[in-house]
Amino acid sequence: MGIKNIKETEFRDNETLDLFKQSGGNILLTTLDAVMDWGRSNSIWPLTFATSCCGIEMMATGASRHDFSRFGIEVYRASPRQADMIVVAGTIVNKMAPVLKRLYDQMSDPKYVIAMGACAVSGGPFFYNTYHVIRGVDHVIPVDVYVPGCPPRPEALLYGIMQLQRKIKLESLSNPRKTVELI
């Protein structure tokens, strides 16, 4: 199984995104939106941020075999002020949560969050019998795309990133938060 085996129709089938498409707007703005979103979605710069083993898969996704710069996720930024996206790759413990929140706050709009792996999605293997793990990073920052897996393969992260790109492509200048309101 790989990302190549997913049929185009299945990849396009997403009820939430269909909801976004019912946006309307005038011709000038929608054209401008299309150009802007095209540019924005194809140059998402991620923040260098990884807290455990998902980080290794994220690095593998950036390395030559999977190479997510093919999709414009070109370059890891070491400063949150230059980053568009944060991939929360790994367990977030109580002590890390305020740090993550601050990093997110320091990123400039528009900013996106991918929760990668079971720990970031729900606490995963650390849900039970732990005293210090945040059970899902959405308790701390809003999440755009959830990528399940423990850890997810690079193909899964690529799939998540491509879903995020589709989401970005539905944004509008006239109402940048429309996607949020529709949900």
Binding site: K95, F127, Y128, N129, T130, Y131, H132, R135
Partner: protein, 152 residues
Amino acid sequence: MDKEALKERILGLIPDAEFQENKQFLTFIIPPAKIHDLAVTLKTEADLAFDYLFCLSGVDMVKFLEVVYHLESTTLRHQLVLKVRTADRENGTVDTVCDIWHTAEFHEREVYDLMGIRFANHPDLRRLFLEEGWIGHPLRKDYVDEVNIVEL
């Protein structure tokens, strides 16, 4: 030094050390009062020369708390495990070895933080991972946290 010779040597130093069967490591249970003196001897004697403490851990065995020292000589290539037990769960105290192996300073802080074993004469015995003001020691078997822990 091979295992048999080392065993005789240690028993010669500490006659009341209790030998424990272990396939990988030569293991002894040492009375708490003697650990510091023994550690100095192990480090300084030329035929022992244990210059490397490669692990220091704390264990909660319910009936008692235990500190485990993994030692190695990088020159003579032999290894040794020492265990020290304390039955006092409230104020269980073991002498520090961080004046002998400096690496023990952080290891002992970690053991104190998570298991609640105190180390006498430690220069800076604070919590290492958890915040100041944390109540309890979370890796103990009897640790209870109604708010954060979801029991399976």
